[in-house]
Point group: C2
Chain length 244, copies 2
């Protein structure tokens, strides 16, 4: 097989946060595949075919990419953020698992600045101590498992970063998340809402869990909850390195 596949992270939105490694792959590609708004970030050029697709077709997209590679094409699947964090890399390997001779495919995963780290940087250093990252969508796991993880993460004293905090189909879930956090982490723990970071629509807000309401998050919001030591300094929020 002479084709290759790169799964590349475009970062949170600002082009100054795209790595040269990703730029180089895009410059050599014959085909770019991905969710419509991410493919829209790639400049068209002669010899490059863009394949934008709708959301929630990750496996179709991965199989399409693998078919193109089998045909000798040089393919980049674009993700926002980092492809390995709740994005296309895992979906690609799920598709690869069902192929004959998966080891014959030339595949590279190209990391990017994931939303949680871009948001943390804009806020200060809320993830400056041990932390966890949880996808709050229950599309691919039972809601009960999410609740259990939230409780254990609170008991562990992890700071937490939440991807996909609010689903339009199940708006009550995020209210339930806030209730659980108030119980496990205490009402004075800080929670930050970082919307569309590094884009013109960026909006940052930090409140206590007691003050937090579900409408503070939408699907473009990264939510970061501190641990009990997380505090403000000037306009920033940070979690000290020391604990216990």
């Amino acid at each position: 097989m002479s084709g290759w596949l790169a799964v590349a992270g475009l970062g949170p939105g600002d082009d100054a946060l795209v790595t040269d490694e990703v730029r180089a792959a895009l410059a050599e590609a014959t085909d770019v595949i991905g969710y419509i708004p991410y493919v829209a970030r790639v400049a068209p050029r002669e010899g490059l075919t863009l394949h934008p697709s709708d959301n929630r077709v990750e496996l179709d997209r991965a199989n399409h990419a693998l078919d193109l590679v089998q045909g000798g094409r040089k393919v980049v699947i674009v993700s926002s953020g980092d492809p390995g964090v709740f994005a296309m890399a895992a979906a690609l390997f799920e598709a690869l698992e069902h192929r004959d001779r998966p080891e014959d495919y030339d595949i590279r995963i190209l990391p990017g600045i994931t939303a949680m780290l871009a948001a943390a940087a804009r806020l200060g250093a809320p993830l400056g101590h041990d932390f966890c990252a949880i996808n709050l969508s229950d599309n691919l796991k039972p809601w009960e498992l999410i609740e259990r993880r939230l409780r254990l993460a609170g008991q562990a004293g992890f700071a937490m970063a939440f991807y996909n905090p609010r689903s339009s189909s199940r708006p009550a879930h995020f209210a339930r998340v806030l209730d659980i956090l108030r119980e496990e982490c205490g009402p004075q723990t800080l929670i930050s809402f970082a919307r569309a970071v590094t884009t013109p629509d960026e909006r940052l807000q930090t409140v206590t869990l007691a003050e937090a309401t579900p409408d503070m998050a939408d699907m473009r919001t990264m939510v970061i909850v501190g641990n009990r030591d997380t505090r403000r300094v000037g306009s920033f929020v940070y979690t000290p390195r020391r604990a216990g």
Copy 2:
């Protein structure tokens, strides 16, 4: 105050993983501060003073930077990886907290590719589901808290990424970590050792927890433990998006 401070992430080692945002800050800086090997990655030029310092002097380094900013200098503190993940950003805010009028300082945190995401990309997608990041050093927290977090993370079914897995002063600790993981996650769970990723010294190794031995990690190794669904496909390791 006319000076400014940027705390910048240089990524895991490969210059192709440095963002343009960080390059731009370095190009405007009058002073670069940081741990010796990270400052060594910045090219000298006229008008730029390099201030390399030894490890474990994070607060001194932060205060030095703030003093320079008060004097009108344009200062970049360099971290490897991402400054917000077990690096200089939290230390900077700790120092800032003890200053008069912290809000007068012009401070930006510039994200980078943190070691865990660079390692995950080289391995495949081991962090493709909910995960946590734990600093295994007990310099700034009691060892008992680390053990407790490991157990709760295992019970939560998180994949885990470990920074600073082995301290030369306490080599027995990492053996204890492996024992706890075998108990909580089961001996067949995969563990990956990713040493010096994206550098000429890179070495990748994946085994089961039953097979893992402490000498597989040193201080340049990022350790990533999968959850019970983590598996191999071709030469890669990945954690499926679906669970439960």
